[in-house]
């Protein structure tokens, strides 16, 4: 415990030391005392509490049969243990008994409200909301703010993601952070590779290797396929974005000094078509860590997936319950009955035949917090310890084990994608898409 506290303190110091870098990428806006900004591996910059834990909000989501989450300015997460389903996701009705009621947590057991210290005042986008239980809680953009019980160390974002996974999942909690420091012509989308820079109307932007101001190489026929992102007369650079003079009187946006382009053959569904052309690359505000060395990338009929060393597609399990609190059920500390139903009709041995854990070598290290080797008891699905009989050391992403699928016979097969309730988004498995060439939001 002492060691963990020391490491946490050290990481807080390191985060402070790199604060200048963070604000090259993100806007430094007013915030309450005790709330900081730090870079994370998977989500870019996030707000953190004094201990360095990531902050989350729970925006209201429209589910199939009603709303869940929190309206602006209103707290819905309390220390109440729910016992029955809310019937928010068709086709199953409400009123069904939830599992493991004797140990079922309340919403605030898992999502800890970030309370306001006495004397603190609202500032900027930060306001104060009061709950029915009398608590005073910080809100960002009027959404009440929480930390996750799953985040163990500063920089962890195990509780949720900004990435879009389609509309069929639970009403999820999302990490929050400052807006990216990009000119109004741009936006940033969180992807598997990092913060993808796009135009405001959602087109990928590209750079040509070796180009810089005064060294423009894309001219002539090149301009048939690549459109320079020109800037209006009043545009100004910001952060890592600047303006270069392409030709007298024609200014072009640049990122880290490299001129930016869009690609004429981008389909609108696949943001990376241009990066297939030699010399051209997508632009990221920040990048996610690489998966462990033993993983591979494989082409499928729909794009590229992450795969194990033998080329078998990697799948991620996700789950949210149907209580009004929409609690997670996809972590080894959550009830396992949901996963066991999908992977093997409740039988852990069948699950192991159908969905294989991905073994990690004894000395395997990933070099990141996003990917870790963990010990799992395959009969329970819960964390275990080294040396425990039957325990396996397996790869986990965001602290959740990853899997391969028994019906995938060769590299590039993705027969398991969207297995489970609501196309795998509600209680099921989806492929780890590195590049999804045909549908948005993955």
């Amino acid at each position: 415990m002492i060691l963990r506290s020391f490491i946490a303190s050290l990481l807080v110091l390191l985060a402070s030391a790199s604060a200048q870098d963070v604000f090259d990428l993100y806007k430094d806006e007013p915030r309450p005392e005790g709330i900081s900004v730090r870079m994370t591996e998977l989500e870019g910059a996030v707000f953190t509490d004094e201990a360095g834990h990531t902050l989350y909000t729970w925006p209201q989501h429209l589910l199939r049969n009603g709303y869940s989450g929190e309206q602006k300015g209103r707290i819905e997460c309390y220390d109440i243990v729910r016992t029955k389903t809310a019937g928010l996701m068709s086709p199953y009705p409400p009123g069904v008994l939830l599992p493991e009621l004797d140990t079922r947590p309340s919403c605030t057991d898992l999502w800890r409200p970030v309370l306001v210290l006495e004397g603190a005042e609202p500032i900027g986008k930060w306001s104060i909301v009061e709950g029915q239980d009398g608590r005073r809680q910080w809100a960002y953009d009027e959404q009440p703010v929480y930390t996750s019980h799953l985040d163990q160390e500063p920089g962890d974002t195990t509780g949720g993601t900004k990435r879009r996974y389609g509309g069929e999942g639970a009403a999820a909690r999302n990490p929050i952070g400052p807006p990216p420091r990009v000119p109004p012509a741009f936006r940033v989308m969180t992807t598997a590779h990092g913060g993808l820079v796009m135009t405001r109307d959602a087109r990928s932007v590209y750079i040509l290797n070796g180009e810089s101001e005064g060294q423009i190489r894309c001219t002539g026929d090149c301009l048939d396929s690549w459109q320079p992102l020109t800037a209006p007369a009043l545009a100004r650079g910001d952060g890592l974005f600047s303006l270069v003079e392409r030709s007298p009187g024609v200014r072009q946006w640049a990122f880290r000094g490299q001129p930016l382009y869009t690609y004429s053959l981008d389909s609108g569904e696949d943001w990376m078509v241009g990066s297939d052309v030699s010399g051209w690359s997508n632009v990221y505000l920040w990048e996610t860590p690489e998966p462990p060395e033993e993983f591979t990338a494989q082409d499928t009929i729909a794009g590229q997936v992450l795969a194990d060393a033998q080329g078998r597609t990697i799948y991620l399990y996700s789950c949210g319950d149907d209580s009004i609190d929409q609690l997670g059920c996809d972590h080894p500390t959550d009830p396992q009955v949901y996963r066991l139903a999908i992977c093997g009709r409740g039988d852990p041995e069948v699950c192991q035949e159908n969905w294989h854990y991905v073994p990690a070598k004894d000395d395997a290290e990933s070099g990141s917090r996003a990917w870790r080797a963990v010990w799992i008891d395959p009969m329970t699905g819960r964390f275990s310890d080294a040396g425990v009989e039957g325990a396996m050391r397996v790869w986990a992403y965001r602290d959740r084990p990853v899997y391969t699928y028994f019906l995938d016979e060769k590299p590039g097969d993705v027969r398991g994608d969207a297995t489970g309730e609501w196309r795998g988004g509600r209680n099921g498995l989806k492929a780890y898409w590195i590049r999804n060439a045909y549908f948005r939001g993955q």
Binding site: S267, D299, I301, V337, A341, R345, T419
Partner: protein, 361 residues
């Protein structure tokens, strides 16, 4: 073949503007892009005659029967999770609910095995020996029937809407679209959106498509065929993979012993794709796209459907168990003429041996 020539609907599709007729067949080549595809389900104008026992029950009806709403609250493990567990880990057998099959003995399709057995159908034109056990399976499930079944609408709609589903036929060595004893047909996936009229709904001939040589490389197939009286027929090939997503899931159908029968002209092609659908692939394509919610909208019980599939499967016995692994079927298909930017043959052949496409481009 006769059924294609006599079809008035086909004649309507194949009415060609004069300008297109003069230009579509070039250098012995013509291309077509898939614009409509759905399981061939024969429907008379009287549902009570087709399905005199009624339609099959769906997830909502079965849930109510198993866990009455006026009864005690079930546990999620006994109710929802048990049903979903059966759905995603399907097994043959009996689920206690009756399953209704279409009556009347008429179906569209092919005589795949050259035999006429008790299970076979007659075509609407009276041809015996029609193998279409998939029709027997889904013919009395309301979600599979036109004009408003959930699968009928959305599976077909996706063929036009999703680039992932952009299947194309490239005919070569064509002397005439009326008669040619020997033509070559190559199946590709296209990369581009379809050319439509001003409504945005009707696909018009004369568009162009690039060939997907990266993600679509494994979908390329080559068939030998002939054209007689304007109808293309092909020899069966081992299988065709049809990329077919309808709700953003990269799924596909595998049709074994696949053959084509299409009436052709310079603006389009219409007819049937026939063969044996791999049962596990067929079931999981449906489930992965729709999951239980969407199936409920069509009263499609996945649990009952899988058991019926296993009862009616009639092809490719498993070498060890003898259980049939595929089911005879036919798909109604429509294509519109398109100019295919044919890839360099040497590059295509180099991509069929497992070489990374990105390295060879």
């Amino acid at each position: 073949m006769r059924r294609l020539i006599l079809s008035t609907a086909t004649a309507g599709l194949l009415t060609a503007p004069a300008s297109a007729e003069q230009t579509a067949l070039r250098n012995g080549e013509i291309g077509y892009v898939l614009t409509s595809l759905y399981w061939s389900i024969y429907q008379s104008d009287d549902n009570s005659r087709d399905c005199p026992n009624g339609f099959n029950s769906g997830p909502r009806q079965q849930y109510e029967a198993l866990f009455p709403s006026d009864g005690p609250a079930p546990s999620i493990v006994d109710a929802r999770l048990d049903l979903e567990g059966q759905t995603w880990n399907p097994e043959p057998g009996d689920d206690g609910f009756p399953f209704y099959e279409p009556q009347g003995g008429i179906a569209r399709g092919f005589d795949l095995d050259g035999q006429a057995t008790e299970e076979d159908y007659r075509s609407p034109e009276g041809e015996p020996g029609i193998d279409n056990q998939l029709f027997r399976t889904v013919g009395c499930i309301i979600g599979f029937r036109g004009p408003d079944g959930v699968e009928f609408i959305f599976e077909n709609k996706a063929i036009k809407d999703e680039r992932y589903n952009r299947l194309m036929l490239h005919l070569e060595d064509v002397d005439s679209l009326e008669n040619d004893p020997e033509v070559t047909v190559t199946v590709y996936r296209g990369l581009d959106r379809l050319l439509t009229d001003a409504s945005g709904e009707r696909v018009v001939p004369g568009g162009s498509q690039r060939v997907d040589l990266r993600w679509g490389k494994s979908l390329i197939r080559e068939l030998d065929g002939k054209i007689e009286d304007g109808v293309l027929t092909t020899e069966p090939i081992e299988d065709l993979i049809i990329p077919w997503m309808n709700l953003s899931v990269p799924s596909f159908q595998q049709i074994k012993e696949m053959r084509l029968e299409l009436a052709l002209n310079e603006t389009g092609a219409k007819g049937m794709i026939g063969g044996y659908a791999d049962v596990e692939t067929w079931y999981r394509q449906l489930m992965r796209n729709d999951s239980t919610h969407h199936l409920s909208n069509g009263d499609i019980s996945a649990i009952s459907l899988y058991k019926q599939l296993r009862r009616t499967a009639d092809g490719h016995p498993h070498p060890e168990t003898g259980a049939m692994t595929s089911i005879s079927t036919a798909l109604d298909a429509e294509f519109v003429q398109v100019f295919i930017n044919a890839p360099d043959e040497t590059k295509v052949s180099s991509r069929t041996n497992g070489e990374s496409p990105s390295e060879s481009e």
